[in-house]
């Protein structure tokens, strides 16, 4: 009888405690996955900027992907976030962050908030991130999480063509969606000495990242690396 009572008590405790333990172990699991992601996908591929590595290790990527994709959040691939859009592969986010050489006093403009993950990584490093999304449902979802987690991120749902003039000029502009032309207002809102990173090519095939540098009257471009912004599963 004594044993039966003890077993029953253990079962009851187990039933109540299980969700809490499970939640904690999932969080630990994500943290472990994140640290492995930084080591194997990012550092091993040559990303050396300590700000970037720290930010990538800190931002919980799984919060920026749809619920049904969370188990893939730290895998080495882009993921669909709906509306034909993707959250970039972790390495690409790290690469685009490092290439603009972010510093704590930077003000950065991002065109194409998407999931909000790139903005979150930047917000860990720079003074302020201004991010614009044209697809309203995506922008609203990203705004909800970014404004909860960060006070140095401003989200606007609008056409990125015009940039965000009242907060310019910017030290860096990160464009996350490929465009067939670079809007003149963005060039204007780039500081002298500022840089812009932008993917060139169709959204569903191999693209080339391009770095645009503004120095006085001279504006030059440099092709960087081929990247892929392709979903690995169809969006729901």
């Amino acid at each position: 009888m004594f044993y039966l009572t003890k077993i029953t008590n253990l079962l009851v405790m187990g039933i109540f405690l299980l969700p809490a333990v499970s939640k904690e172990s999932t969080a630990q699991n994500f943290e472990l996955q994140r640290s492995q992601m930084v080591e194997t996908q990012i550092r091993d591929r040559g990303i050396r900027d300590r700000h970037t590595l720290r930010a990538m290790g800190k931002v919980p990527r799984h919060l920026y992907v749809p619920q049904n994709q969370r188990r893939f959040a730290y895998t080495d691939r882009p993921l669909p976030i709906g509306y034909g859009q993707t959250i970039s592969q972790p390495y690409i986010v790290a690469y685009m962050t490092e290439i603009i050489k972010p510093r704590p006093d930077f003000r950065v403009l991002e065109i194409g908030t998407g999931s909000g993950y790139q903005a979150a990584v930047l917000a860990e490093i720079v003074e302020h991130v201004y991010t614009i999304e044209i697809v309203e449902p995506l922008g609203e979802t990203a705004r909800a999480i970014l404004e909860k987690e960060y006070d140095n991120v401003s989200v606007k749902i609008a056409d990125g063509y015009y940039g965000w003039e009242e907060h310019g000029p910017f030290d860096a502009i990160v464009v996350t969606a490929a465009a067939e032309h670079i809007p003149p207002p963005l060039i204007e809102q780039l500081k002298d000495g500022g840089v812009m990173i932008i993917p060139v090519g169709s959204p569903f095939r191999v693209q080339q990242l391009m770095l645009v540098e503004k120095k006085g009257e001279s504006i030059t471009s440099r092709s960087l690396m081929p990247v892929r912004f392709v979903p690995f599963t169809s969006s729901d």
Binding site: G84, I134, Y161, E188, G201, F204, V206, P226, R228, S234
Partner: protein, 806 residues
């Protein structure tokens, strides 16, 4: 004059209903090809042809396995199957539009479940063909003694169905034409019933058929687009809406408006103005152009792109614009001072939109006195144009932005062949130029192929050093090649240099300029692109095309696949290097998948069930070889004719309709006549020999004959095409029914095998012929077709000669 009872005699009613069903099936096939091109990409047209053939093959097998039962129930079963075929035409398209059955071609290679969805689509579309084919099969088998007449109705009906659909698709959307095809099948069913014996069933079919048809007509629904199509993505923009839609034989044309749509491809960093908002035009959901604003008071945005190069090099009084799309290049030419511009546009609906609905918005650009807009294929125009004094011939920017992931790999483009560029060269004035612009691609493919094609065309004109005539300028996103008829001089080179400085562009090919020794505005990741160009232009290295990872050798009229870059021998290496092959060469891989999937299903649904049949006779080798050769050979010849007549008529849909319809009708007549000869085994041998000799004759003479008559009026060309197609098709209609008669008299149990093997090989023939054409050219496909008919001839000669005549 015959009495009405003759026309409505039982046999004639059945023959008429067979003809109507055949028309319905071919019409449905063409509708489906159009619908699938809108939902996905046109490559799936091959899949539809293969599914149709699969339906016929499987029906043959079903007939073989349940011959007695099916034939005894023919009087009510055949009309019922016809009705089911019509109803499933509607039902299959409705099912395919459901979310659960929608597949995405872009994720096909990374999500295995997509193959399952693709296979489900195969089966959904298979059903209407299967039901229809089974009805046809039962009728042909039941009337084997009179097969010529019935086969004639089958083929004539198919021919008429093809022609009917071409007319319908010019005036209505594919989804609206679907009920017409279904209605033909239901009407065939109603006509096929024996009213005395099955009045109740006939009434039931009438009611059921009408309910489904009324539903389809009243609720046509939308054709869902892949989320990766340009139109789908555009409609996500703020306030984006379709403001106009129009049917066209090339597919659906949509005009979309949104305040966030701007068009300035690879605009110079120096442009500081506002990029205007413009409406976008899409054909079958893919970007086609924008509605241009023709306003001479503002700077044309194209002056800030590499496309301005031909106008920078010199004044252009007379300009020819090939594939002029919506006329953005037309507005540019006029603003650059052209006095006479001819714009060739290949989509009639777009021309009509620009002349009517959007005339005012484009400031009546298409009505300008200096402009002549012609609805014609560009290559056709080059054949027919008399003018030899164009100051500029300008081609549209190549490839979708950043490429189309190889989706154009199998498009026959006769405007981008060596022969086409040679024709352009001969139409230039003394200082005239040809200009071609392309997006920079990675790894370089399109850009290198353009250079290679231009170099070869110049070589054919006796230009030994292409650098004396060629200029290329690159921005951050595009590259424009210009070849000038007269040798370049320092003055022109100077103009190009200052244009580049002003726009922050970089010369790539220019006298006295080596990009590797200069500070560039737009730096590339490495210099290999310049080395490759050197190998093509300077060294003319013959080994380069062999050694380069992609297929960048120039396209020719025999292999007009400019968009094909994949080398099958390099697939392993490229997968290792890029880890992303499908996204480089999607179109080509889709045809391989179609071939593999079709072959698999043909084996499962046709061949394996045939093994259940107990065979009394000895070897089936002769039957398999004869009917297999016919299955492949007929389709090979049909594909070659379609490809050749695309160039002749200038439009794929016209070529497809003309070839399929004429061949069906002529083959139908041939099969009818074959029944008049008593010695069927001789007909089966002699007709195959005649066909192989005709193929040999056509291999030598067809192309020159078409080239010599290409400038004649359409009516004359249609007549010539009819004659050229119907002669071989007439004889090609004879071997199959003749050999069936031989088997009927000698080895009846092998008839199912004949149907099955013929059907199975027809399933894979379309994709196989296309792959051979892409790899080796049309002539090789023709050679294979000739060999196949010779194989059939040899079998007939050796084997059938020993049989009873019929």
């Amino acid at each position: 004059m015959r009495s009405p009872s003759f026309y409505f005699s039982k046999e004639n009613r059945v023959i008429l209903s067979l003809g109507m069903l055949s028309a319905a099936i071919i019409a449905f096939q063409l509708v489906l090809m159009q619908v699938i091109s809108i939902m996905q990409w046109y490559h799936f047209a091959y899949m539809i042809i293969s599914i149709a053939m699969l339906g016929f093959g499987a029906a043959g097998t079903a007939l073989a396995l349940m011959r007695k039962k099916l034939l005894s129930a023919a009087s009510w079963l055949v009309p019922l199957l016809m009705c089911l075929s019509g109803i499933f035409m509607i039902f299959s398209v409705w099912l395919a539009r459901l979310q659960v059955f929608q597949f995405d071609v872009y994720v096909l290679f990374v999500e295995r479940s997509q193959f399952g969805i693709l296979a489900a689509n195969y089966l959904i579309f298979f059903l209407p063909f299967f039901f229809g084919a089974l009805a046809i099969g039962i009728l042909l088998t039941k009337n084997a003694g009179n097969i010529g007449k019935f086969y004639f109705a089958n083929l004539i009906g198919s021919g008429i169905g093809g022609v009917l659909l071409v007319f319908l698709l010019s005036t209505m959307f594919a989804i609206e034409a679907l009920p017409v095809a279904a209605m033909l099948a239901v009407l065939a069913a109603i006509m096929g019933f024996d009213r005395q014996r099955h009045k109740g069933l006939q009434s039931g079919v009438i009611v059921l058929g009408m309910i489904v048809l009324i539903f389809a007509i009243r609720v046509p629904g939308e054709v869902p687009l892949s989320q990766y199509k340009a139109l789908s993505r555009s409609l996500l923009l703020p306030d984006a809406r379709v403001v106009h839609s129009k049917p066209d034989i090339h597919g659906r044309v949509d005009v979309v408006a949104s305040d966030a749509m701007r068009y300035a491809p690879a605009l110079s960093f120096t442009f500081t103005g506002r990029v205007p908002v413009k409406k976008n035009v899409y054909t079958n959901g893919e970007f086609y152009g924008v509605i241009p604003h023709f306003d001479t008071t503002v700077t044309n945005i194209h002056d800030f792109t590499t496309e301005a190069l031909p106008y920078i090099m010199g004044a252009r009084d007379t300009v020819l614009l090939l594939n002029a799309s919506t006329g953005t290049a037309l507005a540019h030419a006029l603003q650059r001072g052209a006095a006479k511009v001819q714009a060739i546009t290949g989509v009639h609906a777009v021309k009509e939109l620009m002349e009517n609905e959007f005339a005012e918005e484009s400031s009546f650009l298409f009505h300008d006195k200096r402009v002549q807009v012609l609805y014609q294929d560009s290559r056709q125009f080059l054949f027919s144009a008399k003018d030899n004094s164009y100051d500029a011939i300008i081609l549209p920017r190549m490839e979708a932005f950043g490429g189309s992931a190889g989706l154009n790999a199998l498009v026959e483009d006769y405007t981008l062949t060596i022969e086409a560029f040679s024709q352009m060269w001969n139409k230039l004035s003394d200082d005239g130029v040809i200009a071609v612009t392309s997006w920079m691609d990675y790894p370089p493919r399109t850009t290198l192929k353009i250079a290679a094609t231009l170099v070869q065309a110049l070589d054919n004109q006796g230009v030994t050093d292409p650098r004396d005539h060629m200029v290329a300028v690159r921005s951050w996103g595009t590259i424009t090649f210009v070849v000038q008829k007269s040798p370049l001089d320092q003055a022109v080179a100077g103009k190009v240099r200052s244009f580049c400085r002003e726009m922050l562009f970089d010369p790539v090919i220019l006298p006295g300029f080596d990009p590797r020794n200069e500070t560039l505005y737009n730096q590339l990741e490495d210099d290999s692109f310049f080395s490759y160009l050197d190998k093509i232009i300077v060294e003319k290295d013959p080994d380069f095309f062999e050694s380069y990872s992609f297929y960048v050798a120039p396209a020719t009229d025999d292999k007009p696949y400019f968009g094909r870059f994949l080398k099958t021998s390099e697939i392993q290496q490229q997968l290792k290097e890029y880890d992303d092959l499908p996204f480089l060469e999607l179109g080509y891989l889709i045809v391989w998948i179609t071939l593999a999937q079709g072959a698999f299903l043909a084996i499962v649904l046709i061949i394996i069930p045939l093994f259940r049949l107990r065979s009394k006779s000895r070897s089936k080798t002769a039957t398999i070889f004869y009917f297999g050769a016919l299955g492949l050979g007929y389709m090979f010849v049909e594909i070659i004719f379609i490809q050749r007549f695309i160039l002749y008529f200038g439009h794929p849909m016209y070529a497809i309709a003309a070839v399929i319809s004429t061949m069906m009708i002529a083959s139908g007549i041939g099969s009818y006549f074959s029944g008049r000869f008593k010695l069927a085994h001789k007909v089966s041998a002699v007709s195959t020999l005649i066909v192989s000799l005709l193929i040999l004759l056509y291999a030598v003479s067809l192309t020159p004959l078409l080239m010599h008559t290409i400038n004649l009026s359409l009516a004359v060309k249609v007549f010539i095409a009819f004659v050229l197609l119907s002669v071989p098709a007439f004889f090609m209609g004879m071997p199959f029914p003749s050999a069936i008669r031989v088997l009927d008299a000698n080895r009846q149990d092998q008839i199912p095998w004949a149907w099955g093997i013929n059907g199975s090989l027809s399933v894979i023939a379309t994709a196989l012929a296309t792959l051979i054409a892409v790899e080796m050219g049309f002539r090789v496909v023709m050679f294979f077709a000739m060999i196949l008919y010779l194989v059939a001839f040899a079998v007939a000669l050796i084997n059938f000669a020993r049989q009873k005549p019929s």
